[in-house]
C-alpha cells in the first residue's frame, strides 16, 4: 500500500517537474491572427496573407497633435530624418519634398521605359514636333516654373506623364511644408515598417523606437519651440493594433487570473478556514493549469495569451473537484476520502468526460485559437480530476478533516426546499426564452469579423481618420490579376489600365495602385525601347521638328543623350528597385502564391465610398477578381461560424449520447438535460434582449454551459443526496462563476463573450438542476 502510494506520488511529481521544464521552453504569443481562420481557398489565402504581412499590414500612420503648426512641422521633419536613418522603416514619408530623392531619380532615369506615352509615333518627326510644342507652351503656365529645368533633357514631357500617372486625384494637405490634417491641427507621417504587421515583437520594438525618437526630437526642439511641451504622438495601423491588443490581452489575462484566483481563494478560505486545506485544494488546479499549458505548447508549438487568459476559467472549474472531495467526504477524515471515491467518483468521472466531450469539439475548429482553448481545457480538466482522484487523497495528512460545515449545509438545503416550489417555473422559462427567440426573429449570429477584433472602436476611428487625411490605401478593395508568371501578370495589368483609368475618370474610384506603373512588363519596356530612334535619326528628326519653334536644337543635347542611353539601358526588373521604398511597394503588389503569380491592385475609394455593385458591373468580363477584403473576411468568418455551429452541435450531441449511455434511463436523461437546455435558452434570449448578437465565442460559451452544467446536473440525477453535496456544488459553482464571471468584464471581446455566456449559464444550470430535483430526503 505504502509502495503504491509512493509510486503514484512519484509519478505525479515527475510529471510536475517535466511539465515545469517544458513550460520554460513554451513560446507565448498574442498574435490575433490565431483568431483568423486558416484559409482554404486562394482568395482567402490572399486575404489572410494581406492581413498578416502584406504591404498594408506594414503601414503605420502617425499624427502629431498639440503645439503650433510650425513647431509640429519642424518636429515632423526632424523625426522623419531620424527615422530614415533607422533600419526599421522601409519608407518614411511626411510630405517633405526631397524625401524620395533616390526613387525620383530612378523613375526619372528610366522615364522612356516607364512612360506609356512612349511610342514610335511620338518619336516620329510630327510626334516630336507636337510633344515639344506642347511642352514649350506649358512653360508659360505656373507649373512651367519647375518644368523649365526638365525641358532640355525631357522635351516630350515624359516625367509629367509619370507624375500624372502615379499621383492620385487628390494628395494630402501640406501645412508648413509637411503633411497635415485638413483642419491643420495635426502633422501627419506615413511609415512602412520592414517587419510584417503580424510580427508583433518586431512591431512593438518599432513602436518603442518611434516613441523614443519622438521624445528625443521633442526634447531637442523644446528650446526653440516651448509649445512643443504639449505635442503628442498618435500612431495607428495594423502593427500598432497588434501591439496594443497584445498588451491588453496580456494585461487582462494576468489581471483576471490574479483577481479570479484571489476571489476563489477568498471563497475557499471563507468555507474551509484552514490554509492547509486551501493549499491542498489548489494542488489539482495547479497541476491542471500546468498540464493545459504544456499540452498546448506541445500540440501547437506556441501558446496564445488568450488561452492563458482562459486559464482563469479553468482554475474556477478545476477547483471544483477538490471542493467535492473535501466537502462531500465531510468531517470524516482520510477514511471518508476512500468512501468518497466509491460513492462520488463515478459521478464526477462522468462529469469530467462530458466536459471533455464538449471541449473536444473545439479541437476540430479551423481557428487555431479555438482549438487551443479546447486542448487546454481537456488536458487541464483531465489532469485536475485525475490528481484529485489519485494523488490528493494520498497527500492528505492523517486526521485531515474539513471543519464542520453541516450548519451551513442544512441552511442551504432548507433554502433549496423553498426554491423547489418554483419548479414549474423552469419549463416555463425555457418555453418563454424559446418563444422570445422565435418572436424576436433577430439575426442570431453576428457575421462580422470585427466583432472579434480586439481593437477598440476609438482606435479604429483614429485609424480611419488618418487614412482619409493621407489618402493612404485602405485595406478594403483589391483588384487581383493572376497569371502563370510575373510577365503574364504584368501584361494583363497593363491591358487593364485604360479600363481602370476610365473608372477613375467616372469617379467610381479615386485612384488605384498598379505594379506595372513601376515595373512595366518586359514586353512593354522592350516595345518602348524599340520605338526610340537612334542618335542620327533623332537628330535628323529634331532638326525638322524644331523648325518654327522658339528653341535651338543645341539646347536639346541632353535629350539626345538621354534617348541614346535609354536605348542601351537594361530593362527594369525587381532588382532595379533594391534599396528603395519602391521595392517594398512592388513586393506588396506582386505576390507569388502556390505557383501562381498575382498582381494586387489596391483601389482607392472616392469620398462617398466604393459602390461595389457598380464597380463589379463596370469590370465584369475583365480578367480580374475584385476582392472586398471586408466582405471576404466576413464571408470567411461566416463559414467558420457555420462550422463552429456544427462543431458545437456535435459537441452537445456527444454529451447527450454519453449521458444517455451512462444513465441508461430516458427519464434520468431528461432530468439531467432540462436544466442545461433551459440555461442555454435563457442565456441566449438574455443576450438578444440586451441587444447583442452572438459571435463565435458566445457559441463556445454556450457549449461550456452544457459541458460545465452537466457536472452539476449529474449529481441531481444520482441517488446520493445530502446537504453537504448541495453545499459542495454551490461552492464549486461560485468558484466557476468567479472565473467566468470576471471574464465578462474583459475589454477583449473574445474573453468577454466567453465570460458573459458561460458565467451566468453555469449558475443558472445549477439553480435549475437544484430546483428541479425530485429527491425528497435532501
Amino acid at each position: 500500500m505504502i509502495q503504491r502510494r509512493g509510486l503514484i506520488v512519484g509519478v505525479w511529481l515527475l510529471a510536475l517537474v517535466l511539465g515545469l521544464a517544458l513550460l520554460t521552453r513554451a513560446r507565448f504569443s498574442a498574435d490575433m491572427s490565431a483568431f483568423l481562420p486558416a484559409a482554404p481557398s486562394a482568395e482567402q489565402q490572399i486575404l489572410v496573407d494581406q492581413l498578416k504581412d502584406g504591404t498594408v499590414s506594414r503601414l503605420m500612420l502617425v499624427g502629431i497633435t498639440g503645439a503650433s503648426s510650425d513647431a509640429r512641422a519642424e518636429l515632423s521633419r526632424r523625426l522623419a530624418a531620424r527615422l530614415r536613418t533607422s533600419h526599421d522603416f522601409a519608407s518614411v514619408a511626411n510630405g517633405e519634398a526631397g524625401g524620395f530623392e533616390r526613387e525620383r531619380k530612378l523613375l526619372f532615369d528610366n522615364r522612356y521605359l516607364l512612360s506609356p506615352a512612349v511610342t514610335s509615333q511620338r518619336f516620329s518627326t510630327a510626334g516630336l514636333h507636337a510633344a515639344i510644342a506642347d511642352s514649350i507652351a506649358a512653360l508659360a503656365l505656373p507649373s512651367g516654373a519647375w518644368t523649365k529645368a526638365l525641358l532640355p533633357a525631357d522635351p516630350t514631357g515624359e516625367t509629367l506623364q509619370l507624375i500624372d500617372m502615379m499621383s492620385g486625384r487628390d494628395s494630402a494637405t501640406i501645412s508648413d511644408g509637411v503633411w497635415a490634417s485638413r483642419d491643420g491641427k495635426e502633422a501627419l507621417l506615413m511609415l512602412y515598417t520592414r517587419a510584417a504587421g503580424s510580427d508583433t515583437d518586431a512591431q512593438e520594438a518599432v513602436l518603442a523606437r518611434l516613441n523614443n525618437d519622438f521624445a528625443a526630437v521633442r526634447a531637442e526642439l523644446l528650446g526653440h519651440y516651448q509649445v512643443l511641451a504639449g505635442a503628442r504622438l498618435q500612431a495607428t495601423g495594423p502593427g500598432v493594433f497588434g501591439v496594443e491588443a497584445r498588451e491588453r490581452i496580456r494585461g487582462e489575462a494576468l489581471r483576471f487570473s490574479i483577481l479570479g484566483s484571489l476571489i476563489i481563494v477568498a471563497l475557499l478560505w471563507s468555507v474551509y478556514r484552514s490554509w492547509r486545506v486551501l493549499l491542498l485544494g489548489l494542488v489539482p488546479v495547479a497541476s491542471g493549469v500546468l498540464a493545459g499549458v504544456v499540452a498546448v505548447s506541445l500540440g501547437f508549438g506556441m501558446v496564445h495569451a488568450i488561452t492563458v487568459g482562459f486559464g482563469v476559467t479553468l482554475i474556477g472549474e478545476a477547483v471544483d473537484y477538490s471542493i467535492y472531495l473535501f466537502i462531500q467526504s465531510g468531517a470524516g477524515g482520510v477514511g471518508s476520502a476512500r468512501e468518497w471515491q466509491r460513492r462520488f467518483w463515478p459521478t464526477i468521472r462522468l462529469g469530467v468526460l462530458t466536459s471533455v466531450c464538449g471541449f473536444a469539439a473545439l479541437l476540430f475548429s479551423g481557428f487555431p485559437g479555438l482549438a487551443q482553448l479546447g486542448l487546454y481545457s481537456i488536458a487541464g480538466l483531465a489532469a485536475a480530476a485525475l490528481v484529485t482522484r489519485w494523488v490528493l487523497p494520498l497527500l492528505l495528512p492523517a486526521g485531515f478533516a474539513v471543519r464542520d460545515l453541516s450548519v451551513l449545509a442544512e441552511r442551504l438545503a432548507w433554502g433549496l426546499r423553498c426554491l423547489r416550489r418554483l419548479r414549474a417555473l423552469v419549463p416555463v422559462l425555457a418555453l418563454l426564452s424559446l418563444a422570445l427567440l422565435i418572436v424576436l426573429r433577430q439575426p442570431l449570429w453576428n457575421h462580422d469579423l470585427a466583432a472579434l477584433s480586439p481593437v477598440p472602436a476609438e482606435q479604429q476611428r483614429l485609424d480611419a481618420a488618418l487614412r482619409a487625411e493621407l489618402g493612404a490605401p485602405d485595406v478594403r478593395y483589391l483588384a487581383v490579376v493572376s497569371g502563370a508568371d510575373r510577365e503574364a501578370v504584368l501584361r494583363e495589368t497593363e491591358r487593364l489600365a485604360p479600363k481602370l483609368d476610365a473608372l477613375v475618370a467616372r469617379g467610381l474610384l479615386a485612384g488605384y495602385e498598379s505594379p506595372s506603373r513601376y515595373l512595366p512588363s518586359q514586353a512593354a519596356q522592350a516595345a518602348r525601347q524599340a520605338s526610340l530612334p537612334d542618335e542620327t535619326t533623332l537628330r535628323a528628326r529634331l532638326a525638322t521638328a524644331l523648325a518654327g519653334q522658339p528653341i535651338q536644337p543645341a539646347k536639346l543635347e541632353p535629350f539626345v543623350a538621354a534617348v541614346e542611353a535609354a536605348r542601351q539601358a537594361p530593362l527594369l526588373s525587381p532588382a532595379s528597385f533594391r534599396g528603395t521604398s519602391l521595392a517594398l511597394l512592388l513586393d506588396g503588389l506582386l505576390v507569388e502564391q502556390g505557383g501562381r503569380n498575382l498582381a494586387l491592385l489596391p483601389l482607392r475609394a472616392p469620398a462617398g465610398g466604393i459602390d461595389a455593385a457598380a464597380l463589379s458591373k463596370a469590370l465584369s468580363g475583365a480578367p480580374l477578381q475584385l476582392v472586398d477584403l471586408k466582405t471576404a473576411s466576413n464571408r470567411l468568418y461566416g463559414a467558420y461560424l457555420d462550422e463552429a455551429i456544427h462543431l458545437v452541435g456535435f459537441g452537445m450531441l456527444a454529451i447527450v449520447l454519453l449521458l444517455a449511455l451512462a444513465l441508461r434511463s430516458p427519464a434520468k436523461l431528461g432530468r439531467a438535460l432540462l436544466p442545461l437546455v433551459t440555461a442555454v435558452l435563457v442565456v441566449t434570449a438574455g443576450h438578444l434582449l440586451v441587444g447583442g448578437t452572438l459571435n463565435l465565442l458566445h457559441l463556445v460559451g454556450l457549449l461550456l454551459i452544457v459541458a460545465i452544467g452537466s457536472n452539476y446536473a449529474l449529481f441531481f440525477v444520482g441517488s446520493e443526496r445530502s446537504a453537504s453535496v448541495l453545499l459542495s456544488l454551490l461552492i464549486a459553482n461560485l468558484a466557476t462563476l468567479a472565473g467566468f464571471g470576471l471574464l465578462a468584464f474583459s475589454s477583449v471581446p473574445v474573453l468577454a463573450a466567453l465570460g458573459s455566456t458561460a458565467g451566468p449559464g453555469a449558475l443558472l444550470a445549477l439553480l435549475f438542476a437544484a430546483v428541479l430535483d425530485r429527491h425528497e430526503d435532501a
Partner: protein, 188 residues
Amino acid sequence: MTRRFLALLLCALPLMASAADFDLDRLLGQLAQTRSAHATFTEKQYLTLLDKPLESSGELAYEAPGHLEKRTLQPKVESLVLDGGTLTVERGGKRHVLKLQDYPEIAAFIDSIRATMAGDRRALEAAYRTELDGRYERWTLQLTPTAPKMLAKVSRVKISGVRADLRQIEIVQADGDRSVMSIARAAP
C-alpha cells in the same frame, strides 16, 4: 517779401509733407484697405532657353489676407491657388498640393504679391529687402530676397503700381530668365 516767402512756404508745406509721408507703411496701409480684387493679366516670359518670349494670359483673384489665385487661361488652363501656406496647382483635372518654400520661384511671385496686397510688412521684410521709389500716385517697390535659398533662384521682384492698384510685376530669376506681368483691374 518775408510775408510772401512765408505764404509760399505755407502753401508748399502740404506738398512737402505728402512727399515725405509717402513711405512703405503708408503704401501698405493703403493697399491693405483692399479686401478683395479681381483683375486680368497678360504675362511675357523671357527664357534663355527659348528664342522668343512666351505669352500667357488669364485672371487674378485676391481675397484678404491670405487667398490669391492665378488662373492662366491661355495657352492652357491651369490654376495656382495660394491659401495660407498651401499652394495648390490644378491642371488636367488633377490637384497637386505643394509646399511653398520648396518652389521659391513660384513663392517669389505669389507670396510677394500676396504680402504686398495684404499690406503685410512683417511678411515682406521677413523674406525681402524692400526699396520703395516714387509717389503714391505712381510707385515702384523692389523686393530682393534675403534667404540664400531663394536668392539662388530669384534675383529680384519689382512691383509697380498706381495708388492702391498693382500694375506690373517683374520677376528676374537668378538664371537670367525674366517675366513681366501686366495687370488690368477688372471692372468691379
